[in-house]
Amino acid sequence: MASPRLSGAAFLAGAALAAVISGGLVEERLSAGSLHVGAVVNALVTLASILTLALLGRRVPLGPGVVVPQVAGAAVGVLLVHVALRRGWITGAPWLAERPAQLVNDAVAVFATLIVVWACVNRRDLRLLVAALAIALLYRATGRFWHLDAAPLGFLVTVQDLVVAQFVCAALALPLYDWMTRDDLAGWG
């Protein structure tokens, strides 16, 4: 049973991770798919994912006391970014059309990443990794039919590309980090 303090930390970590991912997607759209921006966003998302994993990794058996607040926090994080976008607090691309479909991009990116985090917390649970992979592939196969941003000169990296690439990188980086830190530490130092 997770303590209220841990549940609160899980909520905040979920919100922070979602804000980084969602904010990164917005920044990528604002930059019309710049590869440099995408690389920086990816690095930041990877770091945020690692911090979330480090927060949970050695402290919890995964359960509702952690997952539910983390999902709630992630939802709040995504909504905050989109509220900021709709209210005009984030500006810079007049051609950018903010629609409800954008939430799907963020939801897939955030929850696929969170599932990878949970898989690593759960001793690299293969079922969770496969589930995250299925979500990403389904999204990649269908995304172009229901949402595409239109930039004046087109996108080098579309939002769909970024979401899938981020998932692939998270699925690579998080188990790598987990491998390097989870086992016995007797040899360190």
Partner: protein
């Protein structure tokens, strides 16, 4: 003798320590300066060497100091071991004063501090006694006979007077004492008694050294008189213990002796605890390896991101998706295959290099919270390094033959912060105590005794005699503190069953004292 003893009691104190210093230039007689660094190397027990370094507590500005210890272990003796597992270290406050103070809020703590001061004085009394015995037995000694007995008498008087004073000030209770305080006073009495017995025992050992010297015959009457004084003091103290119901060491009972030692150890820990600083240490590699792993993961992620985007910008959707899956599978496979190697390389790199940039271990020592609110008194960055060195074979240095050895190098870069409250209470130094367990080496050593053939002059035949097989490990302890620098060079002698002794490299058999490096 007793008359002399009583007469000298009135002149006890710091002046007694300097009675002999002007008579001899020997470094063994130097006066201990509490405001300077002090360092010692000794054999602690059968498997551990101990080095202690006391650095002064600064009055105004932070004081930086450096400790370097090198053990040069010959290749045939060296066995691989993890240095940190073998090292124990403590830090404690050190000072000659600080007796019960009206400003002390915790009276039991003040009693314990006062007890440690008395114990410190008893230790000094023994050192003085032993120094005079050592001087009188030295090769070049010319101590007048009357002088020696007088001085031994003085040091014995210092010990008994210190005990009486401690009992008067610390043991005699007041009607308002609480039950805890009365209990503590009883413990003080018992511990002071044990320390007095230790002092007397140490004095007896010092006399034995004198008896074994070439001047034994000359000092025979003095030795007999001093032994009588010691026996008298021992009998008086034993009677006191019996009268108070304290555990006494009964020579015919192993169980009682065991309990006596255990009790003495418990009391020592109980009282010393008041001076020990609370240590907080962490291994830097354990702290940073998460960040190193995160850095590696981010680098891998960035690399994969660029590759992924490149693959996704291929012309057909089918190739994008399939290539992405193949990419994930390939990268995951490569990482899985190489993960142990990656981890091993990472660990080795961190553990082998972190001390070059920072330190392997960081330690902070805080004053007990009940005394100073947990202020950090000292902190240090520590590292171990092992290098293999090769020197010309001393048997024939010009022959190009070489002997190899492993140098275990311990470095300690520390700083002490000013603590006016501690200074005011009489604390003048922070003493670091290190013990290094060399038992991993013993398995590599040859038997303790080897047989050597000799010609028997009576039978004119070969016979075999037992010869001790010993190994030698050079030790260097260097301490730099502000403008002051001290160096101790020593030779550790060990054998299969443990550590035998430690010798000053320049004068075997003498106690180790620091020298100022040129």
């Amino acid at each position: 003798m007793t008359t002399t003893l009583r007469r000298e009691q009135s002149t006890l104190g710091a002046s007694a320590l300097t009675l002999e210093e002007r008579d001899s230039p020997s470094p063994l007689l130097r006066e201990v300066d509490e405001a300077k660094i002090d360092l010692r190397v000794a054999v602690h027990d059968a498997s551990r060497i101990e080095w202690t370094v006391a650095v002064p507590l600064p009055r105004t500005r932070e004081l930086r100091y450096a400790i370097d210890v090198e053990l040069e272990i010959p290749a045939n003796v060296f066995a691989r071991h993890t240095a940190w597992d073998q090292l124990q270290s403590w830090a404690r406050l050190d000072g000659p004063t600080g007796v019960v103070d009206a400003s002390d809020s915790v009276t039991i703590d003040a009693l314990r501090r006062g007890t440690m001061v008395a114990a410190h004085k008893l230790g000094r009394a023994h050192e003085g006694f032993a120094r005079h015995c050592l001087l009188a037995g030295a090769l070049s000694a010319s101590t007048p006979l009357e002088d020696l007995i007088d001085k031994l008498d003085v040091w014995l008087a210092v010990a008994t007077a210190t005990t009486q004073e401690a009992r008067a000030r610390l043991v005699t209770g007041a009607p308002s004492d609480t039950a805890e305080l009365r209990r503590e006073r009883q413990l003080v009495d018992e511990y002071v008694s044990i320390r007095l017995l230790d002092t007397l025992a140490g004095d007896e050992r010092a006399l034995s050294t004198l008896k074994a010297s070439r001047h034994a015959e000359r000092h025979a009457r003095t030795i007999v008189a001093a032994e009588a004084m010691l026996a008298e003091a021992l009998a008086a103290e034993t009677a006191y213990r019996q009268g108070r119901g304290y555990l006494c060491a009964e020579p015919w009972s192993q169980v009682t002796l065991e309990h006596y030692l255990e009790r003495a150890s418990q009391l020592k820990k109980h009282f010393q605890e008041v001076f020990f600083l609370e240590a907080r240490t962490y291994q830097v590699a354990e702290r940073i390896h998460h960040w190193v792993a995160a850095f590696v993961a981010i680098v891998a992620s960035t690399w994969a991101f660029v590759w992924q985007i490149t693959v996704m910008n291929r012309p057909t959707t089918g190739s994008k998706v399939s290539s992405g899956i193949i990419l994930v599978a390939t990268i995951a496979g490569v990482i899985y295959a190489g993960k142990d190697r990656i981890k091993e390389i990472g660990r080795n790199w961190i553990s082998g290099n972190v001390h070059r940039f920072y330190a392997q271990r960081v330690a902070h020592w805080r004053a007990p919270a009940r005394r100073l609110g947990g202020d950090v008194v000292a902190s240090a960055r520590e590292s171990f390094d092992q290098t293999v060195t090769s020197r010309p074979d001393p048997l024939n240095p010009a022959s190009n033959a070489a002997v190899t050895s492993t140098v275990v190098h311990y470095t300690h870069r520390g700083r002490v912060t000013p603590q006016p409250a501690l200074l005011a209470s009489g604390v003048c130094r922070v003493k670091h105590i290190f013990r290094y367990d060399l038992s991993p080496l013993f398995a590599r050593l040859d038997d303790t005794v080897k047989q050597v053939p000799v010609l028997d002059s009576v039978t004119n035949r070969v016979r075999f005699v037992d010869a001790p097989r010993r190994y030698r490990v050079p030790i260097r302890l260097h301490v730099k503190c502000g403008a002051e620098s001290r160096l101790v060079k020593a030779m550790l002698v060990l054998h299969k069953n443990g550590l035998d002794r430690i010798e000053d490299q320049s004068a075997a058999g003498e106690a180790l004292e620091p020298e100022v490096p040129s």
